[in-house]
Amino acid sequence: MSHSRDERRAELVLALVALVSVSVLGLITVFVFKEGLPAFREMGLWQFITGHRWSPSQNAFGIFPMLVGTFMVTLGALAIGMPLGLGCAVYMSEFSGPRSAALLKHMVELMAGIPSVVFGFVGLTVIVPFIRTYLGGPGFSVLASSIVLGFMILPTMVSVSYDALRAVPQAYRDNMLALGATTWQTVRMVVLPSAKSGILAAAILATGRAIGETMAVIMVAGNATAVPESVLDPVRTLTSNIALEMGYSAGLHRQALFATGIVLFVIVTLLNLIARAAIRGGSAK
């Protein structure tokens, strides 16, 4: 029957498409590990991760400052982006009317479409001079990167936690309101605790976005290879280290950059797994 043949053909094509999309992940993994593992063999994993000195021309490859830098910048971005994003999501879900919620949602989605280089440029021309003038230091800093990233993770933070809040059954709210609680009390005591795992997932996905962002960070971070002593010091993240030097690198330097990529890959994969576990934990309840 031609009907079942069509069915069969469609399945074949779609399975092919599915394989292609997955194989990109596979190819990237194989490629990054193949290029980067020799560097671990050359200098030792521990040496590579805990080394304080990054000076490729002198064959010193230690990514500890970049690990700390990534950690600080990401934490800063979360400190800025999480309250803003969560607040926005709570307002959209619990307080605003459906029309303004739709409008806000559109605007947040629009924000997700802004190229990162534009965020970087705004950071470079507004935030960096502002920090230099009013807070001191060169302006290129952990703080500048955190602010820029904090805004860049907003769309992820807002949309995922908004979905989590919307998934809380309306009956919970109705019961609370019937007991005489205000909307804020309802949000605080019932809605937020119920959506906890979804909000956690939003935060973890936003963390992944912050860790992975490169272009905007290169423009405002200053890219120093020393461990920053304050939030006003310049900093280099793992991603900017790769992007900044990959064009020039050769030999062991290039392998070390791919090895940086492996470290980043492992961190982001772990985060994704944790996020999935958090989402599953939430839906199991």
């Binding site: 292609v20 990054w54 000076s55 009013y134 010091d233 064009g247 020039y248 050769a250």
Partner: protein
């Protein structure tokens, strides 16, 4: 990535039904990979890639070439940095590579053709609000190693001396920009007055590892010492110029041809970075602009290289502040 995982788990429970798709997929992959090893086809345009310091000058020459010889193949100029320039010539991604430093011993061992296109000076630049006009090579080195961290620590603070930079392009206004007050580019820093010594933490700005300008700076100034890891690293001449133009405490280095009146070039031990001083050998921070190419390049590439090394191009390049005379095209 997440969606990929879900598709994977969604599809795998039915492994037998997927077999045909898997087979076709594998065939395509094998065919695709065998296609990769093919020779690079002759391009209808000439690709020149490499140093971002040479790039703006090469752009000018490419434009002029297209204007004068509309029938000849177009020249496509790309950046990427000196090392990438050499690599792209070796891999065949570009016909000509641009370097703003000498070849490393590894690169020289590749036995490429080498042309010295011009000489360029590296200018050490500070903000126009900075009263310092002159710096010794030792002090410059100490600033970049992190030994000197404050402008007040400089041993030779020569204030009020005017550096003549009239020969370098774009510097016609340098005398005007040396007046410290009323620049308005920074609101918070206290305005300099001649009596108070200039102080404050130096914001050291350097190029990233591997850049040709950085390589030349390392060789000419640092002499094997390391640039402090506390330095800010920017990935282009333009980014350094913009940062220095905005930050009164900053010091950076860029190609002399790219200095404009938003920044102030410093004299090195009393020698101003002018074309004359470079030509006479007095100014020390001079590096070559080099082109590399394979021995078997086609006639259209040779034509273009002849144009680049010809008298008309030299005129253009020296008009842009590069030093083109004296140096013979060394094969």
């Amino acid at each position: 990535m997440k969606k990929g995982f879900q598709q994977l788990t969604g599809v795998f429970p039915k492994p037998y039904r997927m077999a045909p798709a898997l087979l076709i997929y594998l065939i395509i992959m094998v065919l695709g990979m065998s296609g990769c090893s093919g020779d690079s086809q002759p391009a209808s345009s000439i690709t020149v890639a490499g140093s971002t310091s040479v790039q703006p000058f090469m752009d000018l020459l490419a434009e002029e070439y297209a204007r004068l010889y509309p029938d000849k193949p177009a020249v496509n100029v790309q950046g990427g940095g000196s090392s990438a320039g050499v690599r792209s010539v070796l891999t065949g991604a570009a016909s000509v590579g641009m370097l703003s430093r000498r070849l490393t011993s590894d690169e020289a061992a590749e036995n490429l053709n080498v042309i010295v296109m011009a000489q360029d000076a590296i200018a050490v630049i500070v903000n126009p609000q900075n009263p310092i006009t002159d710096i010794s090579l030792e002090d410059l080195c100490k600033i970049y190693t992190g030994e000197i961290t404050d402008w007040g620590q400089l041993s030779q603070v020569t204030q009020g001396t005017q550096v003549s930079t009239a020969d370098s392009p774009g510097n016609q206004d340098s005398q005007a920009t040396q007046e410290p007050a009323g620049q308005g580019s920074s609101e918070a820093e206290e305005p300099d007055n001649a009596e108070a010594p200039f102080q404050g933490r130096i914001h050291v700005i350097s190029r990233e590892e591997g850049s040709g300008t950085r390589g030349a700076f390392d060789e000419l100034v640092m002499g094997g010492q390391e640039v402090t890891p506390r330095s800010i690293f920017q990935d282009s001449n333009g980014a350094i110029r913009q940062t220095v133009a905005q930050d009164p405490m900053a010091i950076g280095y860029i190609s002399l041809g790219l200095v404009d009146d938003s920044v102030k070039p410093l004299a090195i031990s009393g020698v101003a970075p002018t074309v004359e001083n470079c030509r006479s050998g007095k100014y020390m921070l001079v590096r070559p602009f080099i082109l590399v190419f394979q021995h078997d390049v086609g006639p259209e590439v040779r034509d273009y290289l002849d144009f680049v090394t010809g008298p008309h191009s030299r005129e253009i390049l020296s008009g842009e502040g590069l030093i083109t005379d004296g140096e013979e095209a060394a094969r």
